[in-house]
Amino acid sequence: MQISKITEEQQIADMLDWALAGKHGLTIQGAGSKAGIGRPVTTEQGLDLSGLTGVEMYEPAELVMKAKAGTRVSEIQSLLRQSEQRLAFDPPDYGPLLGGAAEAGTLGGVFSCNLSGAARIKAGSARDHLLGVQGFTGRAQAFQTGSRVMKNVTGYDLCKLVAGSYGTLAIATSLTFKVLPRPEKTRTVLLYDVPLEKAQPLMNRGLSSVHDIAAAAWLPADIAATCDIEYIRGPGKSVLALKIEGPGPSAEFRCTAIREMFEGEGAQEELHGHNSESFWRFVSNASAFEGSERPLWKLSLPPANAVTVIAAIRDKAVEADYFLDWGGGLVWVQMPDGLADGGEGLVRGALDGAGHATLIRGSEALRGKIAPFQPQPTAIQKINARIKDGFDPENILNPGRMYAGEEMKASV
């Protein structure tokens, strides 16, 4: 594949004209750090947007920033830090998980894939923070949607479609998004040795309390053992973790209240400051599964189903590794090698129609064979196909990355 490095918007418009005229597919990517998610895209020509960089507007008191799509997320985060602000949805960095470098991912990438970390449960998702998009549709038309203000219901919210469509509908060139204050203090309450069966109900108790828990995860002992924070790895037990944020006095008050609330549910510990932050990065980035090539699934499901879903998977594949985030609403499952479908049937069967499973890591052969994204009912796929047709009628943008082209066209 030929890859053209884009440095200005006009080059995209011209490439799109060329692609439309000859019906050439285009692979759209930023740093390519998430290129391994989804079906393999095979085109002769690619567009690399990682050179389209720069912060175009940042007004801390207005809680808003606008930046070009190729700007690195890590660069945005350090800039925000200078004003004591942050991206509240905890953008995860799947670089190392997918065998690449850390901190390479771009803004366009994280929003196009709608990826959110552990804080998603309280702070909302990447898509919830996306206020406006400028870019091009597959019609080679410049387009914009949304705005720079927090509250906007003017026309259809096409930002929602750009987020999570993996570059199959439009090429985003500039993104405007909400930023929020960094909390003064971050603490994490740890409960050791809580068994799986009790983990989700306990997290739910915490999340249903007045203590405003910002994130909740549970790691089995073997997953905890892969973390380099001594408090997590050391005891050799499962770890249930609850994150608290806020100004000093409030974080302290909440920590104490939560510890009292879970008195008798297991030995307790607290992570402060740096340890707390690195722990939640470990959870958000699914770092426990780095360094392997085994198929890795991300399941979004009703939290109360987590235990039965894991039991159903482990019943057939006892070597499957897993942990819970989002209070049980997110289950990461690393399947053993040697399953012809990478565990697709097992994982989706276990969900039993409630929620969805996405293959985050898998060999190219596997990704070409199975459905990395949850297959949709016919009536919905018909709407999806028409949406795709409205944005990209010649199917030139990341063709087949989410769903096979034929399958989409057939249902229009």
């Binding site: 030929q2 053209s4 490095k5 080059q11 011209d14 490439m15 060329w18 439309l20 005229a21 007004e59 008191a61 207005e62 809680l63 709608n114 909302g124 998702s125 898509r127 919830d128 019609r139 410049a142 387009f143 914009q144 949607t145 203000v149 509250k151 906007n152 219901v153 003017t154 026309g155 259809y156 919210d157 929602k160 479609l161 469509s165 929020l180 109900p201 739910n204 249903s208 309390s209 007045v210 405003d212 100004p247 979004s300 009703p302 939290p303 109360a304 609403g329 409630a354 969805h356 994204f373 949850q374 949709q376 009536a379 919905i380 709407i383 999806n384 949406i387 047709d389 409205g390 944005f391």
Partner: protein, 496 residues
């Protein structure tokens, strides 16, 4: 306000359509064709515009909704969905040749699920009833539009409703987990559920705020939150709106996101105080109501910071609610601001633009100039935290030409909002009210791209036509492509 020309062929077969619909709906009173009875549906919350529907139907099952839509699709009849009819932008205004689909019978809460912290309700359940259903157990539903006592949760989804707490707790879209909906061709589909994030394209995201143009919502799942342990409100008065605006920016700049942050101008303060004696100071130009929630230590910590910032910005009055009753009184004035203004003027029109907050002084100044120019008074209430402005234009519809003058004034205000980097509507929707202003914010091509989304859901354009988009394009026309004769461009840009 021009609506699409009624289709004479459809009007001519009205009696047959009534018969057809009666065969679908089991309740004999579920099809309304009597002119007097139809009067109840002639307008929504934007009462300046009225239109009798051709027929109104009140189905009681999802199957009936599906059959009605299929039938209307086959007969080439337009359909306007209606929840509680509280839209302030005319989103539920009937069409002369259309069937009005009322969802009032879908008024049951289907499931309260504390294990997944969500509630499943039929679309006609009121916003407040959602909170009421879980209040005793210490939970609530966060979005709280001012009309929450009457507006329906299905309508909230259709309009992506906000309220006074959305800076901290988000709009409907941030609290919505799933819906069941019926498409115009009668398909019943589920989007989302009790889990987070969309699978595939985010259809749930685009359905939210789609103003009844994409599908009919028949079930809603929203997340519920634990009610905060303490809530406290603070009134802060300033000698000028600029100072109040400055204070809001500095509070957020200091890293504080209050649960609510409202601003009222002199006119609104006086009207509200006269109406419900909330104890507002009358010698200030602008008043902020700031609500904080959380543990007492956190509230106290922030209040100390806010006091210092307010003083620094020139605040002349500051009062913290000492009891829950006092807090409710602080809010009573703000929540009654619309009826209070309604009392001092025969009619008023409520506008709804959003602006970048730092543009507030400029916008208020220009609005005062416009007020003089049009000879109409204007009162302002403002969701200050998120920049959502609600100017209330006072007029008297009995004076010939005054409604038109008010509309022109309102349009100028909204154009001003767009000019300073804001938007036409923050939470009330485009409907018919702002339809013809869409060109101020979007290019022709951007509007076409939005309508292509409409085509994906409703290719014949049967659902709620005449709303949101100033020009109706046929889907076939929107689908056309203009292909340039391209050579591979930029042979000089690096290729790897």
């Amino acid at each position: 306000m021009l609506m699409p020309k009624p289709n004479a062929d459809v009007l001519a077969k009205r009696d047959a359509l009534v018969e057809g619909l009666r065969r679908i709906i089991s309740d004999p009173e579920g099809v309304i064709d009597d002119k007097d009875d139809l009067r109840a549906f002639e307008c929504d919350g934007l009462s300046a515009y009225r239109q009798l529907p051709m027929i109104a139907v009140l189905p009681s099952t999802v199957r009936e909704i599906s059959d009605i839509l299929k039938y209307c699709q086959a007969e080439g009849v337009n359909v306007v969905p209606r929840g509680a009819g509280t839209s302030l932008s005319g989103g539920a205004l009937p069409l002369a040749d259309g069937v009005l689909l009322g969802l009032g019978k879908f008024n049951k809460i289907l499931e309260i699920d504390y294990d997944n912290r969500c509630i499943v309700a039929q679309p006609g359940v009121t916003n407040l009833a959602i909170t009421d259903a879980v209040k005793a157990d210490g939970f609530y539903y966060a979005p709280d539009p001012s009309s929450q006592i009457a507006c329906s949760i299905g309508g909230n989804v259709a309009e992506n409703s906000g309220g006074v707490h959305c800076l901290k707790y988000g709009l409907t879209t941030h609290n919505l987990l799933g819906i069941e909906m019926v498409t115009m061709d009668g398909e019943i589909v589920r989007l989302g559920g009790k889990h987070l994030d969309a699978e595939g394209y985010d259809l749930l995201g685009v359905m939210t705020g789609s103003e009844g143009l994409l599908g009919v919502i028949t079930e809603v799942t929203v997340r519920i939150l634990r009610s905060p342990e303490h809530i406290s409100a603070q009134l802060i008065g300033f000698p000028s709106s600029e100072q109040a605006g400055d204070c809001v920016g500095k509070i957020i700049g200091a890293g504080i996101i209050p649960a609510g942050m409202e601003m009222m101008d002199r006119y609104a303060i006086h009207a509200a105080e006269e109406f419900c004696h909330a104890g507002y100071p009358l010698d200030v130009e602008a008043l902020l109501i700031i609500e904080l929630d959380g543990p007492e230590v956190e509230i106290a910590h922030y209040q100390t910071q806010i006091d210092a910032i307010a003083k620094d910005c020139g605040a002349t009055v500051s009062r913290i609610s000492e009891t829950e009753e006092e807090r409710m009184t602080f809010w009573a004035g703000r929540k009654a601001a619309f009826p209070a203004v309604g009392r001092i003027s025969p009619d008023y029109m409520c506008m709804d633009g959003t602006i970048p907050r730092n543009q507030l002084p400029k916008v208020l100044k220009r609005m005062n100039e416009l007020s003089k120019q049009y000879g109409l008074r204007v009162a302002n209430v403002f969701h200050a935290g998120d920049g959502n402005l609600h100017p209330l234009i006072l007029f008297d519809a009995n004076n010939p030409g005054e409604l038109e003058k008010c509309e022109a004034f309102g349009a100028d205000i909204l154009k001003l909002c767009v000019e300073v980097g804001g938007v036409l509507t923050g939470e009330h929707g485009v409907g018919i009210e702002k339809r013809d202003l869409m060109g101020e914010m979007f290019s022709e091509e951007d509007l076409k791209q939005q309508q292509r989304l409409k085509c994906a859901f409703d290719p014949d354009g049967r659902l709620n036509p005449g709303k949101v988009f100033p020009v109706l394009h046929r889907c076939a026309e929107l689908g056309k492509m203009h292909v340039h004769n391209g050579e591979l461009p930029f042979p000089d840009i690096p290729r790897f």
